[in-house]
């Protein structure tokens, strides 16, 4: 009983997860179709199949909660797909709720927890209300001269679709198609795509009349409004023959009509008549080598930890590569020119292949942002119903790819921001109409790649952020004195929403809106190496732009030295490095600022910030310009060592609250360097002159 392998169990959890995600996507498509007044019966059937599969799997793997829920859902979906139950908004609501409940159950079962989940009971209760009505009566399919062989293999659902189509007065066609076995999937998808515009394919039936082992013939039963000529024009081709299946006249008399859709007339069809005269190999099983047996599926599912492991190895190889480079340098220094250039060549080809390998692994880690966008679409639907607001969600760039880990970590912050946009940004319909906006609010979710970064924008056409009230609020809670308040720039005023003290739920919603937990959002985004920029026009709308690295795994970094210490600064946040001779530095609001091409650049002295007492030995220093989003600072350093690929390792539990560092890394000569967190440094430096910076922060600076 208990000999189900762990591997099979693991497959179960990841497949269940996948099925639930598909179900969710399906429901969103269904919802969209319902709202636009179209309907696609195949969507309901797919939702049914998803739940049906889950139920079956749950039974095998002993996942009782999944099983119980799936059982009830399956009944409801079965009724809907077989036309016994209307797909009402209530039904859709319950279906949507089930996606979340599945998520909770799976998370629980995976951890082996057996605690009851209240949401399950609630949902089951809601499912009970959809009663089953009586099934439909006799089949009008009898009126057609349908091949009994074909009728015999229809599943209940397919039979229902056939009946529905006939009742709607559509014509029936038989499409006979020859496929090359090797490419059948693709070829069939093409036909399906084209056929979709003209009707519905009800079933597929292999005819058994293969001409060789490499091809196969299928009969497709299709219902359509179009006449034969139109269909032939749209679908016909060399290997596709379309016949109309004639409607029998009036009575349901015995099948005297000539078998125009020529197939056998018995069930099952005798393997006699004309079918198998073709050159099928003899029935004696030929012992062919099983070379091609394994080519069954083109994808594998991989645990992300395995990729992390590979990536770590790549990182260690990178350290070896760097050592090779240094070895070559050293040999040259010792006058061994020939040996040195050999090692150098070795280093170069090693480097190229390592880069290929690294890119290859990174590519595997990439997943489309659509994964998290789908979840968000569900949330939007839910919240907008709860808040009784009509919201149009417009998604672009869902295909933009980003590291799997980032996608996972992104969903909470995005969810939060969207919730804020709906709760506080989008005004009630009456208010919108008063100011001449369309009654339905729009939230746009855009993603695109920009150089080494992925941008995710959340834009709403709501009321925008009321800076005045933000400032008032900051003063009320003591984050800001009235003097300080007067000095704030516009950007700084809007930036107040990120201060921790700005968040008390009850009052925030009565503010202009966005106070709710934005400090947490920003912290989470910066953990991913990202930053948020906010643009808001009061009365017009708000746009939050998140800039994220494409991957977290390996980071190309600039190595710098300050005093005795070596630091790494991720290149993705470095825009340039310039020579710095200490001249031209001004003090503005107590912070050092230099002018770079006409714009002022706040400076960051690491030695002071980190209390590394050191005498600058040379007059010549460098300024590394770190920029994230629209904000930038200049970090003053003593030396630049050049670029190196590093793996960022966490600092460990005891140091996890230390701000300003993304982690530590091995530098290749057995030394360890700290990796600067450019985002946190920028925050710190730009906040230094900003009121509110003296508020106690959770973290401390490493000293």
């Amino acid at each position: 009983m208990t000999d189900i392998s762990d591997k099979a169990r693991e497959e179960f959890f990841s497949e269940a997860q996948e099925i639930v995600e598909n179900l969710s996507r399906n429901l969103l498509a269904l919802d969209a179709a319902e709202q636009s007044g179209t309907s696609d019966p195949s969507l309901i059937n797919e939702a049914f199949r998803a739940v049906h599969t889950l139920k079956g799997l749950a039974g095998l793997f002993g996942a009782t909660k999944v099983g119980a829920l799936s059982h009830r859902l399956e009944d409801v979906l079965d009724d809907v797909r077989l036309g016994r139950q209307q797909l009402t908004a209530e039904v859709l609501d319950v279906l949507f709720a089930s996606v979340d409940v599945y998520g909770q159950i799976l998370a629980g079962e995976k951890e082996g927890s057996d605690d009851p989940i209240p949401a399950v009971g609630d949902l089951m209760g809601r499912l009970e209300q959809f009663g089953v009505q009586a099934g439909p009566a006799s089949s009008p399919a009898d009126e057609y001269d349908l091949d009994p062989g074909m009728l015999a293999v229809l599943t209940e659902y397919e039979e229902h679709r056939l009946r529905t189509n006939i009742e709607q007065g559509l014509r029936l066609y038989r499409l006979r198609v020859q496929f090359d076995l090797a490419t059948i999937d693709k070829a069939l998808e093409e036909i399906k795509d084209r056929a979709k515009r003209h009707g519905e394919i009800i079933t597929y039936l292999p005819t058994g009349e293969t001409t060789s082992a490499e091809t196969i013939e299928l009969d497709l039963l299709m219902a359509s409004n179009d006449d034969l000529a139109t269909l032939i024009g749209a679908l016909g081709g060399d290997n596709l023959v379309i016949d109309e299946i004639p409607r029998q006249r009036a009575s349901l008399g015995p099948a005297t009509a000539p078998p125009s859709a020529t197939r056998g007339t018995e069930v099952p069809r005798p393997a006699s008549d004309r079918a198998l005269s073709v050159a099928v190999p003899p029935a004696v099983p030929s012992e062919q080598p099983d070379v091609s047996l394994k080519a069954v599926t083109q994808t594998v599912r991989v645990d992300i930890r395995r990729l992390d492991h590979l990536m770590n190895i790549v990182g260690e190889l990178a350290i070896i590569r760097n050592a090779l480079a240094r070895l070559s340098e050293r040999l040259r220094g010792e006058g061994q020119r020939q040996l040195s250039s050999e090692v150098h060549r070795l280093h170069r080809s090693f480097d190229r292949r390592l880069t290929d390998m690294q890119n290859g692994i990174l590519e595997v880690r990439m997943v489309p942002l659509g994964q998290v966008f789908d979840r968000l679409a569900r949330v939007v639907r839910q919240i907008s119903r709860d808040a009784d607001k009509n919201i149009r969600l417009v998604i672009t760039g869902a295909e933009t790819e980003i590291d799997k880990l980032i996608v996972e970590e992104l969903s909470d912050p995005l969810m939060h921001m969207i919730r804020n946009a709906i709760d506080h940004g989008i005004e009630p319909a009456e208010q919108r109409e008063e100011v001449g906006k369309p009654a339905a609010g729009t939230i746009a979710l855009n993603a695109f790649q920009k150089g080494n970064h992925v941008m995710v924008e959340i834009e709403d056409d709501g009321r925008g952020i009321d800076e005045e009230r933000l400032v008032e609020r900051a003063q009320t809670v003591g984050l800001l004195s009235s003097d300080e308040a007067r000095e704030l720039s516009r950007g700084e005023r809007i930036g107040l929403i990120f201060l921790p003290g700005m968040t008390t739920k009850s009052e925030a919603s009565d503010l202009s809106g966005r106070g709710v937990g934005m400090d947490v959002v920003r912290t989470n985004i910066s953990k991913l190496g990202g930053v948020i920029d906010v643009h808001s026009e009061f009365g017009i709308g708000t746009k939050m732009a998140i800039t994220l690295p494409i991957t977290l795994a390996i980071v190309s970094s600039l190595l710098v030295r300050v005093g005795e210490y070596t630091f790494a600064i991720p290149v993705s946040s470095v825009s340039e490095a310039i020579v710095f001779d200490g001249t031209g530095v001004r003090l503005v609001d107590g912070r050092e600022v230099m002018t770079l091409r006409g714009a002022s650049l706040p400076l960051c002295r690491l030695d002071r910030l980190l209390n590394i007492g050191h005498e600058t030995t040379s007059r010549r220093q460098f300024v590394v310009v770190a920029a994230l989003g629209s904000r930038r600072i200049g970090i003053v350093v003593d030396h630049l060592f050049g670029q190196q690929d590093i793996i960022i390792k966490p600092l460990g539990k005891s140091l996890e609250n230390v701000r300003g560092f993304a982690g530590a890394t091995e530098l290749g000569d057995q030394r360890v360097g700290l990796v600067l967190d450019a985002g946190a440094l920028i925050d710190e430096v730009l906040a230094a002159a900003t009121p509110g910076s003296d508020v106690d922060r959770e973290g401390a600076w490493l000293i």
Partner: protein, 135 residues
């Protein structure tokens, strides 16, 4: 070694069947399990047999299990392969159609690995079917 073709669109269901069939069982001995992820995959893999048993789900997209049964029973080359249907209790009608079409047995989900092994052993012991289709 007997070779079994498992036709099922769910990857964990396939993994379940594989782990059940490949488990140590003196009655069953060693079994070579070949997985097909769809009806089409099965059509593709069938000519590369021989197979001693086909275990197929009924509810699959495009080519469903019933169509596969019909295809196998009509094919001169494959018609003697015993077929076990995997069905659910809720779809009795589909299951009955499968048996009418010439499937030899069915397993209703949920079933245990033992039940699957027993059925597979029974079918493999019975050997190739004489299927002059009944008419």
């Amino acid at each position: 070694m007997p070779r079994v073709l498992v036709v099922e669109d769910s990857v964990s269901m396939r993994a379940f069947v594989r782990s059940a069939l490949e488990g140590d069982d003196p009655d069953l001995g060693e079994i070579d399990v070949v997985e097909a992820s769809s009806g089409f995959d099965a059509l593709r893999l069938l000519p590369r047999g021989p197979y001693h048993l086909v275990i197929t789900d009924i509810n699959m997209p495009d080519i469903n299990g019933l169509e596969l049964v019909q295809f196998i029973r009509q094919s001169e080359r494959h018609r003697s392969i015993p077929i076990v249907l995997i069905s659910t209790r809720s779809s009795e009608r589909d299951r009955d159609r499968g048996l009418t079409l010439g499937a030899n047995a069915y397993l209703a989900k949920p079933f245990t690995p033992e039940m699957l092994r027993e059925e597979a052993a029974r079918q493999l012991a019975a050997g190739p079917q004489r299927t002059e289709p009944h008419d």
